[in-house]
């Protein structure tokens, strides 16, 4: 599958997929989407890239090892549970703050968002790890 057109398409599509996956992840709290779907999309982008070039190229493009994505993801998910403990609420209670950012309006940030980001990274990392390994074999 080392076709130039496919390679070109994969290279152009990768950033688009990534931005899209982040968007899907962020709006997931209110509309269809979320960490699982976003993670799957991001992974799909890289897998397409890996199929067009090869896995080494794709891993280079990823910059960090997929394993790091998993570690970061799980860490985010765990860290997101801590603020509730400090706030004296039961474990895993969602804690929210509202930021008013000029021009953008009100931005709501909460630990569930952080948790979902952890899910996003974990799913992304896991799928990339699995498929890259299988492809290399």
């Amino acid at each position: 599958m080392k076709s130039y057109i496919v390679q070109l398409a994969a290279a152009r599509l990768l950033p688009v997929t990534l931005i899209l996956s982040l968007l899907v992840f962020y709006r997931g709290h209110n509309e269809p989407g979320g960490g699982f779907i976003g993670g799957l999309m991001a992974a799909a982008g890289f897998i397409f890239y890996a199929m067009a070039f090869d896995t080494q190229e794709a891993e280079k493009k990823l910059r960090v090892s997929p394993l790091m994505l998993i570690v970061a993801g799980l860490s985010f998910a765990f860290i997101s549970t801590l603020p509730s403990l400090f706030a004296g609420n039961p474990f895993f209670t969602g804690e929210w703050i509202s930021l008013i950012i000029p021009l953008l309006g009100k931005l709501k940030l909460g630990t569930p968002l952080l948790f979902d980001f952890g899910v996003y990274l974990t799913v992304w990392g896991v799928i990339v790890t699995i498929i890259f390994n299988v492809m290399e074999e």
Binding site: P32, F36, L40, V123, I127, I130, N133, V134, E137
Partner: protein
């Protein structure tokens, strides 16, 4: 529709069972995938079928569609799908190693190998 879906789910399970009982290890994996599809559908149907718009909470009081789809089974299935992917991948890797190590895809050879 529920009756038809029930029959389809039964068929998916039957296909899964039939494939699981094959000696070929590739078919074993297909069987497991049929099982997970069938189970996802089963949970979904058990939650009640409601055609139409997805359910979203609107601001304030719950005043969404009159006949909403139950969100709880959906959440269950969603994670089940992703985990199902992980399991499938794991099985695939396992099968690949099995084939590499034994040179066969016949599960019965496992038993014979053990007796050697």
């Amino acid at each position: 529709m529920e009756t038809l879906l029930a029959i389809v789910i039964g068929l998916l399970y039957a296909a899964g069972v039939y494939l699981l009982l094959r000696r070929s290890i590739v078919k074993l994996i297909l069987g497991i995938m049929f099982f997970s599809h069938a189970t996802n559908l089963l949970i979904f149907v058990a939650g009640g079928l409601h055609k139409g718009q997805p359910q979203f909470a609107t601001d304030g009081i719950n005043a969404v569609s009159a006949n909403p789809t139950d969100p709880l089974p959906q959440a269950l299935i969603l994670t089940a799908i992703v985990i199902g992917f992980g399991i499938t991948a794991f099985f695939l890797a396992l099968m690949y190693r099995f084939y590499q190590a034994t040179g066969t895809e016949d599960l019965d050879e496992l038993k014979e190998g053990e007796n050697k």
